[in-house]
Amino acid sequence: MSGPKIPFAPEDDVPIRYMDRTREYYQALGFSPYRWAHFTDAPFTPLATPLARTRVALITTAAPFQPEAGDQGPRAPYNASAKFYKVYSAAVDSKPDLRISHVGYDRANTVPEDLNAYVPLARLQEAVAAGRIGSLAPRFHGAPTNRSHRVTMETDAPELLRRCREDGADAVVLVPS
């Protein structure tokens, strides 16, 4: 049987298996494998109000620029001294200078020169202006990129919830970087 070739996409054009790739990388370097958080179910809360009346909060893993913490520029190598270990909050209209040199983004393929590609604050503000969402919570919040799942679950997540509630957020957009 032969006929015209079916134009399937190339075999390698699939989602990157980040867990395998990272595991192999760190094993090659001689480190013990990281265990990623894993659940087979997830909680669910339906949106209670139409989005046009919903107050939306933003949570990011990006870090405020810290002048004393070394190179945090778009081509900076992984910079652990720019990390933060406590939840922070800042006003959404403060034009924050947020960087991602403290996380393992894809340095081979991207240069984070545009904040809007990892922190959608400006796009959220436009969505408020367009009436697509009711409002933006007055503050956005920074989530530490902590390697301890326990600290994330027992300290950081409850703190993020507390702050979102304090601001009257009805829904939350979370954007890892």
């Binding site: 867990m19 958080a37 894809d106 590609a117 919830l161």
Partner: protein, 122 residues
Amino acid sequence: MGLAARHLEANGVPTVIMGCAKDIVEHCGVPRFVWSDFPLGNSAGRPFDVESQAQTLELAFRLLETAPVARTTVASPLRWAADAAWKHRFLDVGKLSPEEIAERRKEFDVVKAVAKAKREGA
């Protein structure tokens, strides 16, 4: 981020994650997820492309409105590049010489020590 979303959601706050690492986010198990097949660091759309950023955020809004159950993923139709060559370049350990591996290990030991000091001083 997945763990934070789960905690918010379990306490009555609907959430949506925008991200690039499909396997990691889905492995965690989250309520709603907009996946962009982009290099890590571009969860909110393509750099300097307002239209792609607005489209990606709109998918997050749609997901908040319409996801029928937890663990709903929507895939952004946007493409980073015409082909998949970029996908082979992320943490490609096969391309490293033993010397480079030793060098990376040394660098990572430094990174870990810096992070530890910062964490303990936090």
